[in-house]
C-alpha cells in the first residue's frame, strides 16, 4: 500500500526493496519504525524481548490498552494500522552475540535501538564489521539542549546519533528528546537508503 504520496517511483521502489533491522522496540525502536513506515519502507526485522509497561507510555509508540503485550506484537499492530501490507519478521528474544547474525544477517541496514550502553556497544562492535550501514544512538535523556543532538559518521559505516553525554543514569528518558533521537536515526537510515547526504 502506498502511504507516502511524495515519493518518486524510483524512491518507492528503493524503499520497498530493502530490509531494515531494528534492534529494540522501545523509545527509539518503536518511533524509528513509525517514521520509516510512514516514509514508505515496508520490510523490517524487529527484535525485543520485553513487554509494554505503563512507564513506557511517556515516550514509546504504544497505547494504554497494549500494556502487557509483547513489544514486537504491539508495535507490529500499530505499524499495520499505518500500512497493512508490511513484511515484518518479529523476534521476541534478547539479542546476544550468539543470535545476532541469525536474526539480522539478512538486513540491508541496521538500527541500534537498545536502552543500555552495554547492549549498544556489543551491537555496534559486532555489526559494523558486516560492512552495512549501522545507525546507532547515544545521549538522548533529559530536556532541552536540542541543538546538541546531531549525527556523526564514525569509520566507514557507523552513524552515531545523539549528544553522546546525556545518559539515563543521570537524567530521565522523555518523549521529546528520545523522539528527536529516533527521528534522527530514521532520517539517517532513509537518506542512506536513498543515497542522499545523511
Amino acid at each position: 500500500m502506498l502511504v507516502n504520496p511524495f515519493l518518486t517511483p524510483g524512491e518507492q521502489e528503493r524503499f520497498r526493496s530493502v530490509t531494515i533491522g531494528v534492534a529494540g522496540a522501545g523509545g527509539l525502536g518503536s518511533n524509528v519504525l513509525m517514521h520509516l513506515v510512514r516514509s514508505g519502507l515496508e520490510r523490517f526485522v524487529i527484535a525485543d524481548f520485553d513487554r509494554v509497561s505503563p512507564g513506557n507510555l511517556n515516550r514509546q509508540f504504544f497505547f494504554q490498552d497494549q500494556v502487557g503485550q509483547l513489544k514486537t506484537e504491539a508495535v507490529a499492530e500499530n505499524l499495520r494500522r499505518i500500512n497493512p501490507d508490511l513484511s515484518l519478521q518479529l523476534h521476541p528474544v534478547r539479542i546476544t552475540e550468539e543470535n545476532l547474525w541469525s536474526v539480522f544477517g539478512q538486513c540491508d541496514l541496521l538500527v541500534e535501538a537498545f536502552d543500555d550502553a552495554e547492549s549498544k556497544s556489543m551491537f555496534i562492535r559486532k555489526t559494523v564489521p558486516w560492512g552495512r550501514p549501522v545507525v546507532a544512538a547515544s545521549g538522548l535523556a533529559g530536556w532541552g539542549r536540542s541543538n546538541e543532538m546531531r549525527v556523526r559518521k564514525v569509520g566507514k559505516n557507523l552513524y552515531l546519533v545523539g549528544d553522546l553525554s546525556a545518559g539515563v543514569g543521570d537524567l530521565p528518558p522523555e518523549s521529546p528528546r528520545v523522539g528527536l533521537a529516533a527521528a534522527l536515526e530514521a532520517n539517517t537510515a532513509a537518506a542512506l537508503i536513498l543515497g542522499v547526504e545523511f
Binding site: F114, A117, E118, K120, G139, K156
Partner: protein, 70 residues
C-alpha cells in the same frame, strides 16, 4: 614527542605511547567507548594491555561515549 589529533585537537605526547596508556591518561574510563583511529573503528582488542597499538605521529583519534537511553 609526537603530535596526534584527538577529538579534533592537536596534542603532543611521548613517543611509543600506547592507545591504552593515552586513554588512561585522559581518564576515559567509560567501558563503552567507540574508538576511531585514522578513519577506522577499532575492535575491543585495541584496549587490551597486550594488543594496544602504539600511537604514531599524525594519528587522528576520536573517542565517542556510549551512554544508556532508548
Amino acid at each position: 614527542m609526537i603530535t596526534i589529533e584527538f577529538n579534533g585537537k592537536l596534542e603532543e605526547i611521548a613517543e611509543a605511547t600506547t592507545l591504552l596508556e593515552f586513554l588512561t591518561g585522559k581518564n576515559l574510563t567509560n567501558p563503552h567507548l567507540i574508538l576511531e583511529l585514522n578513519g577506522e573503528i577499532l575492535t575491543k582488542d585495541a584496549l587490551s594491555s597486550d594488543d594496544s597499538p602504539e600511537l604514531e605521529n599524525g594519528d587522528r583519534l576520536n573517542a565517542f561515549s556510549l551512554v544508556g537511553g532508548g
